[in-house]
Amino acid sequence: MQRHIRTAALTVILLVPFLTSAPADWDALNSAQAATSYTYRGTIRAVNSRTGTLELITGVGMSLRLVRMTTAATTRLVATGAAPRVGDLKPGDVVRAECRRTAAGLVADRIEKLAAGTP
């Protein structure tokens, strides 16, 4: 009997922290799963620095697709030797964009301006 009581107490002690913190963790986990990340490499077709929107041409062979995304205050822009702003990007620039899908569409977390010919 004593052994059963000790096992039950130990189980409660171990489970309580998990049970009390679990809902918050599950929410974070679920939101992370919903915001699946995507990486696109392509050429900028259009950029609107006022709205923070970007159109990127990507594709496979001659089958090309247009990808639209928005930038946020937290979006990191990276380029060799400088930290550009969205307004510094222009049509024809080759970039790699790391995005996540939200209810409002694709949001860029990081945009890296690539030198022409980057493998």
């Binding site: 490499r41 392509g42 050429t43 077709r45 159109e55 041409i57 990507t58 594709g59 496979v60 062979g61 001659m62 089958s63 090309l64 697709r65 247009l66 049509p91 024809g92 080759v94 690539l114 030198a115 022409a116 010919g117 980057t118 493998p119």
Partner: protein, 379 residues
């Protein structure tokens, strides 16, 4: 120069010791497993798609073999339409309006829904290009020529003052291109996967989304097959079939042909049509470190205003990739849009960076011109 022809002579000697390769044959030296994949890939290549198996709703052809059928993997008589907008120095492939490949057919369901027989021509296009179906022989070899070789032949600033400025094109992600008439596509794999989507609107795991209809969403119910419409295995097999298609053996040269080969060199054709290229590393021994008759530098050259049509990537309207001279003897039309019906016409239509060689060709005695054509018809 002597070394180049020495390499060609060695190559021809090597080829001469083997059974001649006919158009449509696999590369000599494939393993049994590779040959099996070639055969199984040919089945997919020759298959005909229907709307129920993934065709459309827009398309140019209902199977690879519709345009590459003469013989399997060869050329066809189809001509397709491409469109882009050139706003110098930027080229817009007009993806938002359905470009750059403008499909010429629709499935019955799309016709019923929108009343159209073909994809609408993009209103923002600055040019229209007609494109004949290229032969696909020897493309696995071209795929494996290292980028460093292409860059070594490039001379964008014409530092040797020969009037020829070869330069590589770049894909949308910045990689060096080599496939397609404007050398836009970097790899054979992407060219093949892209062709399923662009020519037949058959989605695959590598291009899983259908193209819009001139930039507008596909009407509900007109694309019944679930995406992707072919499996990775079917795509891999098709890719292997194309990759393993051998370039046909050149014909044995007679006296005229040998003279023509010398003329080809003397008038400067081989400045761009590099006779021999060598592949780099590959897991397939039949493709690894192989010299082969390519007659191309895979670079862009300005071919003059008369041939100019669309831009693509870094290629301006007048820029075209040096066409590999493979299976010329099987061709009935020449140049990117098939406008030339003889080899003489094709040479005489060279402009821009090709005008020097063209003028030297035109100044040749008739016998030398005939000899050059005899040589080209041996390829």
């Amino acid at each position: 120069m002597t070394r180049r022809w020495g390499a060609v002579a060695l190559l021809l000697l090597a080829v001469g010791c083997q059974k001649p390769v006919k158009p449509g044959d696999p590369l000599p030296g494939l393993s049994r497993a590779e040959r099996d994949r070639f055969d199984r890939g040919k089945v997919v290549f020759d298959s005909v798609f229907t709307p129920e198996t993934g065709l459309g709703p827009l398309f140019n052809a209902n199977g690879c073999g519709e345009c590459h059928e003469d013989p399997a993997g060869g050329r066809g008589d189809e001509v397709e339409v491409h469109a882009t907008a050139f706003r110098a120095p930027v080229c817009d492939p007009l993806v938002q309006e359905g470009g750059p490949v403008i499909q010429q057919h629709t499935t019955p369901a799309l016709k019923q829904a929108l009343g159209i027989d073909q994809e609408p021509f993009p209103p923002s296009a600055t040019a229209r290009a007609m494109r004949t179906s290229p032969v696909v022989f020897g493309r696995g070899l071209l795929d494996l020529v290292p980028d460093s070789v292409l860059l070594a032949y490039a001379d964008p600033d014409d530092r040797n003052h020969d009037g020829v400025k070869g330069r590589p094109n770049r894909f949308v992600d910045g990689r060096i291109g080599r496939f397609g008439r404007k050398a836009f596509v970097p790899t054979l794999r992407e060219f093949n996967a892209g062709a399923f989507a662009a020519e037949m609107s058959v989605t695959s795991p590598e291009q899983p989304t259908e193209e819009d209809i001139g930039g507008k969403p596909i009407p509900a119910g007109v694309d019944p097959a679930p995406d992707p419409e072919i499996t990775q295995e079917a795509l891999d097999l098709t890719d292997d079939f194309v990759r393993f298609l051998a370039p046909p053996s050149p014909l044995k040269l007679g006296k005229d042909g040998r003279r023509g080969r010398d003329v080809f060199s003397q008038i400067g054709c081989l400045t761009c049509h590099i006779p021999t290229l060598r592949t780099g590393d590959s897991p397939v021994p039949a493709l690894r470190n192989r010299p082969f008759a390519a007659y191309t530098d895979l670079l862009l050259h300005d071919m003059g205003a008369d041939l100019a049509d669309i831009c693509l990537g870094l290629a301006a309207p007048a820029d075209f990739r040096t066409e590999p001279l493979l299976d010329l003897r099987g061709a009935e039309h020449f140049l990117h849009d098939g406008r030339a019906t003889t080899l003489e016409q094709a040479i005489e239509l060279h402009g821009g960076e090709g005008s020097g060689a063209r003028d030297r060709f035109k100044a040749l005695p008739a016998a030398d011109r005939a000899a050059l054509i005899a040589f080209l018809k041996s390829l």
